[in-house]
Every structure is written in C-alpha cells, then in structure tokens.
C-alpha cells in the first residue's frame, strides 16, 4: 500500500497561537480516516494544511509523492485533493451541473460536453440527477452538500477531505449525506473525515484519530478506540459526545 498523505512534525501557528503542535499522520491509499476531537483542537487546521488552504509553519506534508510547500505547483496538487466543506461553498451563480463540471474543464482540460456528462453521472450517483439544472439556492442543505460531494468527485481526486460535512445540516438531512459518504467509502476512495458523527466513525472508519490541543493524542481502529479509550482526554470527550 502506498501512502497518499504523509505529514511529519507539522506545526501550524496563528501568530503566537499554536494550532497544530507537531502532527505526524500517514493516510494509506483506500483508507478511511475519521478525525475527532473537541472544538478548537485543530481538526480543520489539520486537513486545511493538506491542501494548503492554510500554510503550515513547520514540518513536511507529502501528498501522493509531491511535497506540499511554498513554491510547489499547488494547483496540480489541489487537483488531486477533493474537499467538502461544512458550509458547502457551492458557486451560487452557476447551475448545479456547471458547479460540478467547472473544474474538470478548467483544470483537467475536458470539453464542456465531456465534463457535463461526467457531472450528470456523478449527480445520479448522489441521487440528484433531476436537479442538474437548478441553482444551489433552490436546493435543501442536504442536497447542496451532495452536490458538494459530486463536485469534489468530478476531479477524480486521489483523496477526499471532509470538514464536518453534516454540521450545518438540519438533523433530518444528516442521514442522506452520511449515506452517500458511506457508499463512497465502499468504492475504495481514500477519505479523511472530520466529524462529530460517532455512529458514522464506528461503522465506516478504518482508523479513528483523536486530536486535542493541536496534537494527535490517540488513534486506532474504531472499536478499540471507542470501547477501550486509554487516554483520559479521549474518555472525557467520548462521554461528553455520547451522552449529549
């Protein structure tokens, strides 16, 4: 198995505040890694460093064999990394179909008909084939997030990053998005998912990573981590989340 993401000693500072405090994390091809941890522990910062939405301060990040750093061809690296945002971030002035087809045309050089055919196929896969002509504002939150997933998939990325993809959704829409993600996980896509959905983590993750105060405190198979947490911070976190 090849490593898709390799982070070594990654430190991220915002001014004097240390958001990531020496993170080592390797994600293998086809692996589903779920990142959990309390608010402010650095989960978003961690995955945002992978595609350099945040520039890390120290340490090394290698994605699919390419060093991610200042001066690297970030466009090419980002093209291989799909990202799904908590707030969807669909382009409001474009139809759903164009949202999905845009980057394949602009970055991969597909023709519009090719890209739209691909987009249509992906929209069908997330259950939205009939919504292609609509604009994001005409869709529910759950539908928008499924478009967000299709948009990320359209680049055929090597890895997908999810930053709390269901946190902005009304409770009744969480399920439809998690279902799509679970289907996706079965197809062998590499995924790193930040989420508070412990049920999803237990069912889908190959490995769960627990972060606190900018460090990875504990990681392992979901059953081991959830049923026999060794670190007291993890125990407290799980208690708080599960009794919530």
């Amino acid at each position: 198995m090849a490593a898709i993401i390799e982070m070594k000693g990654v430190i991220k500072r915002f001014g004097t505040f240390v958001a990531l405090d020496g993170v080592d994390l390797t994600v293998e091809e086809g692996e589903i890694v779920v990142v959990i941890g309390p608010s402010g522990s650095g989960k978003s910062t961690l995955i945002r460093c992978v595609n350099q939405l945040e520039e890390h301060s120290e340490g090394s990040i290698v994605v699919d064999g390419h060093a991610v750093a200042r001066g690297a061809d970030l466009g090419a690296i980002r093209a291989e990394i799909g990202m799904v945002f908590q707030s969807f971030n669909l382009f409001p002035h474009m139809s759903v179909l164009r949202n999905v087809a845009l980057a394949p045309v602009r970055v991969r050089g597909l023709s519009w008909p090719e890209a739209e055919a691909r987009a249509q196929r992906l929209l069908a896969r997330v259950g939205l084939e009939s919504q292609a002509g609509k604009y994001p504002a005409q869709l529910s939150g759950g539908q928008q997030q499924r478009v967000g997933i299709a948009r990320a998939l359209a680049m055929e990325p090597k890895v997908l990053l999810f930053d709390e993809p269901t946190s902005a959704l009304d409770p009744e829409m969480v399920g439809e998005v998690l279902d799509v993600m679970q289907e996706l996980a079965k197809t062998g896509v590499t995924m790193v998912v930040v989420t508070h959905e412990m049920g999803f983590a237990r069912k889908v993750a190959d490995r769960v990573v627990f972060m606190d105060a900018g460090r990875i405190v504990e990681q392992g198979a979901p059953a081991a981590l959830f049923d026999a947490p060794s670190d007291s911070r993890l125990r407290n976190f799980l208690n708080a989340v599960l009794t919530h």
């Binding site: 595609n51 466009g75 990202m83 002035h93 845009l102 980057a103």
Partner: protein, 223 residues
C-alpha cells in the same frame, strides 16, 4: 412678455434644439467612454491593490488616493492647458476622456475592491481547493459574484461621471452645456439653458431611480 416667452420660448427652443442634440451626443460619447475606460482601469487597479506584490500594490494605492483627492476640474485644466508645455497636446475630447477616466478608475477601483471583499471567504476556498488557477478563480467564481454586488454603487458612479462631463465645457468641448451657453448668447434668451437642464434630467433621473430600485432589492435580499 410672459415667463414662458423668456424661459421656454418655443421658437428659440426649436431653433437651438439641433445644436443641443449635437452637444448631447458628445456628452453621451464622453460619458460612455469614461465609464468604460474607468471600469477597465478600476478593475486592474482593484486587482493590483488586492493581490499584487507590495511595491506595485503601494503604487495602486497611491494612484487611487491621488485621483480621488484631486478636484476633477483641476485635473481637466492641467491635462488640457498644462501638459502641452511638456509636449503632450490632446484634443478637448481626449483631454476630457482622460481626466474623467482617470478619476472614475480610482472610484471604480474602490467599489470593485469592496465587491471582491464582499464575496464570502468560502467561495475563494472552494475555488482554490478545486485547483483552479488564480485567473480562473477570479473570472469564473469571484468576479461574477462581486460585480453583482457592486451594480448599485457602480451605477451611482456612472451617474457622477455623466454629470461631470459638463465640466468639459471649460476645455472648449462642444458638449451639451457648452452648446447651451453658446446658443443662449446667440439667441439672447435663456431657453437653451433651461432646455439643457431638462435634457440632463431626462438622461439622469431614470438612472437615479434605477439605483434606488437596486438598493431596495439588495436590502430585501439581505434580510
């Protein structure tokens, strides 16, 4: 003599109308040229101000500040009467277009910058995360949204430019105001001036109303 014979004399009006209309066409040409050039220049300045490396950014900021500070009339006079001393001689139309565009570019730049900054951060991030090039991020994702945000202030700016074209009459530009003052002298009657004022109103009132409509619509959407 009635008030109408003095201020809205039909015979004088009919006689001088062709002159006024030729002035109006120059006013509109000048206004449109300055609005379009000002928009293009403003777009370039806004992008430089936001994204260029420090020295270029400072030059953009300096330009924007200087041309928002200088009175347009002063700039116009400098371009038309002072630049010939260093060998730069422009026609009245070119001088007026230059002066108006340079100032409009500075105002447009600030409006467009605010528009770009008004696009949610998540839009920039999504565009970057997809691997789009900086140019594509702007043209495909950010600018279409930014321009929509700045339609009301840009329309206000266009109104100001159209109004300011009247200043061009000081550099012997045969625009609407200049033609009206000349026609008044010829006819020894103020009717052409009144007519010119009415023509300015007919041109600009709809635009002013349009800004009001835009702003109300924006406010409704912002709720």
């Amino acid at each position: 003599m009635s008030v109408f014979d003095t201020f809205l004399n039909w015979k004088v009006f009919v006689q001088t109308l062709p002159l006024l209309l030729s002035g109006l066409s120059i006013t509109i040409s000048l206004g449109l040229a300055a609005i379009l050039l000002g928009f293009a220049g403003g777009m370039a300045l806004a992008l430089l101000r936001l994204y260029a490396p420090a020295p270029v950014r400072l030059i953009a900021i300096a330009y924007i500040d200087v041309f928002r500070a200088i009175p347009l009339l002063v700039l116009l006079v400098v371009v038309y009467y002072a630049l010939p001393f260093v060998g730069l001689r422009f026609t009245p139309f070119t001088s007026a277009t230059l002066a108006l565009s340079m100032v409009s570019a500075a105002y447009s730049a600030e409006i467009l910058r605010a528009g770009i900054e008004g696009v949610p951060k998540g839009q920039f991030e999504a565009a970057r995360a997809l691997g789009l090039s900086p140019l594509r991020r702007m043209t495909d994702v950010i600018l279409p949204q930014a321009i929509k945000l700045v339609i009301p202030p840009m329309t206000s700016n266009a109104i100001n430019v159209l109004k300011d074209t009247a200043l061009a009459s000081v550099v012997a530009m045969p625009d609407l105001l200049k033609q009206a003052t000349q026609a008044q002298a010829l006819a020894a009657n103020p009717t052409p001036l009144i007519s010119a004022a009415l023509i300015y109103l007919i041109l600009l009132l709809p635009l002013v109303r349009l800004v009001g409509i835009f702003e109300r619509r924006m406010a409704a959407r912002g709720r």
